[in-house]
Symmetry: C2
Subunit: 384 residues, 2 copies
Amino acid sequence: MHFFSSNFKLGILGGGQLGKMLLYETRKWDIQTKVLDASNEAPCKIACNEFVLGSLLDFDTVYNFGKDVDVLTIEIENVNVDALEKLEQEGVKVYPPTKTLRTIQNKATQKLFYTDNDIPTSPFTRFAYTSEIEDSISNGGLQFPFVWKSAQFGYDGQGVKVVRKIEDLKGLPNLECIAEEMVDFKNELAVIVVRSTNGEVRTYPVVEMEFHPEANQVEYVICPARIEDSIAQKAVAVALKVSEHLEHIGLLAVELFQTKDNQILVNEVAPRPHNSGHCSIEASYTNQFEQHIRAILGLPLGKTNSKVAGVMVNLVGAEGHTGAVSYQNIDSILQMEGVTPHIYGKKQTRPFRKMGHVTIVDEDMNRARKVAQQVKETIKVISS
Amino acid sequence: MHFFSSNFKLGILGGGQLGKMLLYETRKWDIQTKVLDASNEAPCKIACNEFVLGSLLDFDTVYNFGKDVDVLTIEIENVNVDALEKLEQEGVKVYPPTKTLRTIQNKATQKLFYTDNDIPTSPFTRFAYTSEIEDSISNGGLQFPFVWKSAQFGYDGQGVKVVRKIEDLKGLPNLECIAEEMVDFKNELAVIVVRSTNGEVRTYPVVEMEFHPEANQVEYVICPARIEDSIAQKAVAVALKVSEHLEHIGLLAVELFQTKDNQILVNEVAPRPHNSGHCSIEASYTNQFEQHIRAILGLPLGKTNSKVAGVMVNLVGAEGHTGAVSYQNIDSILQMEGVTPHIYGKKQTRPFRKMGHVTIVDEDMNRARKVAQQVKETIKVISS
């Protein structure tokens, strides 16, 4: 059935801000949508044709939600995959496929997938329980420092910790996890690959995360990355290899490290629209959301080139501010050329909460980067 | 009150496809919206925060709708201006202002406004009733051919007719009207001017309507127009003069004729987002809908330059097709580079009904224009 048929229905698991941006595109093409989210204040509650309130992790909820849709996609990976598998068996088109989701959902499985397929990634050890790590250290199987990661999603935002000494292990939950060697990287890059139901594959230009020199936090996403062509080609080749072996459908954001000796290592992937692709809304011929829709509906893929250079700044809650949100100086940034704020619509701010993003586009990357810095120095997400 | 306050409410009169595109922008900035439309199937019914079903022409309906909004705007001119005036007097910010709307709503008043302000426009005569025209012809006051136009909006889509002989007057409704001299034009152009509550004014690049060589129908809107700089400057100057005297707030689309001897004449204006500005979604730094919102909320205006060249093709129902709509070969046009279809979501097609539009963007105008022709020759809006 064609997407513009009024009987066609696209299901989206998750009603957050990525879903909201997907809905701009479904509306542009008049695609009927149904969204599941656990929050009655989900940004997708309006703009979809049908909103269902319920848990993304509950088998029955997801299964019942998906039964009457033609194509089912996600805006967040942390969903009940068993229910998706049953739907898939019953003929619902689930993209990304559950096989892809299962590989990605468990970080140990994801890392094993890379090594099994000769995809470069940092060395790691899997542990059935965090408590096993201490033994491994004492018998010399593991050295400090390393990155501890919970294997399962959904562990309340605290799934990653840098461990430099034995005391750092204290307080970590005792569950399946991995210990990853720390990567001494020069750049953090990302490549978005799109793969459609009919096998067509395209990649977006490599983007670069620019870190704050002291705070070690990503400050800017730069599109295209300011790297040598040979490095960009290597990054794209690795991303394509991940894509090919994962057999995903739709977008796949591949996060990469460029090491000091110019190796490209896969950090992790997300099989959906991604923060690293937000610049595409203003900078690309085809934005990542439209592209995802094209891919999962089996339509020809769109041009992934950029019209102009883009820089993205995340809008996060300022430290020391918790409560009803206010966007200080938003008028001032609107005065800067080529600046587009995206406000996600969360009513409450708290320190570091992701409240929106701002894209800066310009013909000239240096100018875009300068304006991005002005944006960052000007706008502040505070409590009013 | 700032627009991102959850107590702020933007009212929109009209819930059609222009409103729908406005709502992408209100959602991007999390602006609370309330929409009035007479149809329960209005495209804006979803994606606004509050939808009210009712007539745009009924005083009480419009007045009651507008009482609790902070800013009230329109996506169609044909609304009850008396109700808007009362709301304006009571402190609601109505943009465009009712004064502007009154001047525009009556085509005789609009034409008088041009002549009163020394704005070039084609010669015309106003008649209180169509029946008076015959007298004027017989006493030599009016020559064939001329364009008959109903002064009032809302006369069921049949408000314009070319009159070449006395018989052509038959069947025309007997109401206030104008008879306009036919303009022998070389080009039909349009300039979108934006004017904000704080007086800031910007113009978009001049666009050109390219006509079918035989059918005398607009086939393509070309941005920027392929005209000499001196003509473009003249067109912009005339548009700015109209804008200044109309004292509108928000967008103003000024439709112009370039005569064979390179005069610029104003045809008519629309004080809202307009078909001639649709290319701005894909081609401009700031699309016309975001720009309208910036203007009416008193925010700094965005950059009106283009990132790339753009061509727009209207999608209208094919002749001989009435019924449930189907977009034949839409997949084929999605395969062409830089092509974005916009489907308005009307369920029924009929000959010449506006069902959507397609934008083609490219660095190179000639290439965009070629692809536009392929698009036009490929997609067909039919009944399924």
